[in-house]
Symmetry: C2
Subunit: 355 residues, 2 copies
């Protein structure tokens, strides 16, 4: 607390990212990173950027990257916005598109950065409870006539549960008066993207990241797809904040990742296969696992506490993520899908712990 | 304009960065980049980052980079904040430290991003005119008893004129009630840094970039040095905005750049020498050149208009920057210091144009 702080700072409760421990031989299943490294073509593109040209500013419009994204997503370049990871894209989205007179609605159990953004930009947020099966009930959003905007992840986090595209379209159709943001950080692991709805609904913005399905958490690139008017709002805010949020590496590496469809397909299918094995193993051990379309599962044991199990795994050098709040999810662990070997090691450790 | 925009978006006038044309054989003296590439040690550190580990998030606290900056600047790690270029550092500073009841003061001729940040965060800005010699008059800031905060670059941009440290200290001493931000993007080219005052003045924040004197415009890294309470405010805002604004390349490359003192000294002295030659050449041709301590000069010809000369240079594939507004600086060109060869080419072209 200081007399020099702007008023907004006093009220902030910053987001706490999953820890990034630097321990050897750790099995790190806590921050939903991809167990497979980036495509060799990405590494090649990055190598080319190690050059004298780093003395020059990068392209402030990230034109080549936006072109690669447009191509991969089947949209026009003018429908693409890029940022320094999807967290920066979301931050700009909260400021540019989600601050209205009516409250912003989001699930009570969801990505915990949303209320933080609300605090940063003075957006009034309102939590909408998930149903008893931890599912988003789209009717709750349709019927909230005072709402100014909506945001939710699909699949939701940390549950991993996907929403059918027909449900999202039902919301878009019923509420053309408000922006609807679908945060698809994990969509490539089994849910259906709303990008195909963008041409039909001017109030839809879809947000993606390259940190998960493109194996580039260390590079910081994310994007949004939407109607050109929504993209213009994001560009206005971005150009009033930082002209060059993506450095030369991020622009080149992300463009190469979007172009390498074969590698992307191969690794995401591998993650999906491993998830199915992991779920079967967990079920066999007495865990309830929510139906996941993400690169993580959300699981609780019928007899044992989530915090206890997380600590016991940690003692065996396996890190998963546990959320104390809200109380309803405290029994769960969020487990990132690693390699087959990592997931087997997790199952072996749990067997030991539960014995 | 769209019904889906937040109110703030309608009023924004985004910053327009200097153009980044992709033409061959261009002499690019328009965005104050360093004519020399980054240190070989930086390139080596960057090469090591081209690896499988890009699948993992970078360190959210940029600890190694902050350590390297602390070492280079003679401060503690807790006094260092890092961001995605000094533009992001400045954006967070406007939101975290410069939004007070009294207006934020800055020079009427200065970095044109300041009023843009004010618009983005609802900060009330008030321009303070430079004197007749385009100098900052520190007494104007001391005597503005209603002011909530102050920011100015030292050396100022686009004039290049430095302010003696004693003047800055006079302000800090007279106005301990308000934050004072000194934006030292260009300080390494001949002005005196206020970092040494940080231990004595809890209201002082000093902002630096690695885009200019460290030859890393393409990598996006900047930092702020100040009292731990000021740094805490910046971290709270950063952690409410984006956990990982610096990717693995930016963290590793910037740390290596801060550590290579010899290369830094060598290249900045080369730029200073070239500047002195360029100034002499321009003077000999009838230009008035403001006394510059930066890696650019601000020059006007007694007979010829700044916009005309800029266009004539452009026709000869030499790009400099011209500002139409305010009217008082329209006669000037801002010329980045290039290599000796580039500056000679500029002088030759001007000779032709003026003939």
């Amino acid at each position: 607390m200081s007399q020099y702080w702007s008023a907004v700072v006093h009220g902030l409760t910053p987001y706490v990212p999953g820890e990034q421990p630097r321990l050897p031989n750790l099995i790190k299943l806590n921050t939903n990173e991809n167990p497979y490294g980036p495509s060799p073509k990405v590494l090649e593109a990055l190598r080319e950027q190690v050059a004298d040209s780093l003395k020059l500013y990068p392209d402030p419009t990230s034109a080549a990257l936006r072109q690669a994204i447009a191509q991969a997503c089947g949209v026009t370049v003018a429908q693409v916005f890029v940022g320094n990871g999807s967290d920066e894209v979301l931050a700009h989205t909260f400021q540019a598109l989600l601050n209205h007179e009516g409250p912003l609605l989001y699930p009570d159990i969801t990505y915990s950065f949303y209320p933080v953004y609300c605090g940063l930009y003075g957006v009034t947020g309102r939590e909408v409870p998930l149903d008893e099966q931890f599912r988003i009930r789209i009717d709750d959003y349709i019927q909230a006539t005072d709402a100014g905007a909506v945001i939710f992840p699909n699949p939701n986090a940390p549950t991993g549960i996907p929403l059918p595209l027909s449900e999202i379209e039902r919301l878009l159709k019923a509420r053309p008066d408000m922006p609807v943001v679908v945060d698809e950080a994990y969509v490539d692991f089994g849910a259906e993207s709303a990008i195909k709805l963008v041409p039909h609904y001017p109030n839809l913005l879809v947000v993606h990241t390259l940190s998960k399905s493109r194996s580039l958490a260390g590079l910081r690139a994310g994007y949004a797809i939407g109607n050109v008017a929504l993209i213009e709002a994001l560009n206005r805010v971005k150009d009033s904040f930082n002209s060059y949020p993506l450095d030369r590496f991020a622009q080149a590496g992300a463009a190469a990742a979007m172009a390498d469809t074969a590698y992307f397909e191969h690794t995401r299918q591998a993650v999906i296969r491993t998830r199915e094995h992991l779920v079967a193993g967990l079920n066999a051990m007495g865990f309830e696992v929510l139906p996941s379309a993400a690169n993580f599962v959300f699981a609780r044991h019928t007899q044992r506490d989530g915090a206890d199990l997380t600590a016991a795994l940690r003692a065996r050098s396996i890190i998963v993520r546990h959320f104390k709040n809200p109380a309803r999810i405290a029994p769960f662990m969020r487990i990132t899908i690693g390699t087959d070997e990592q997931c087997q090691a997790l199952l072996d450790a749990l067997k030991e712990i539960l014995a």
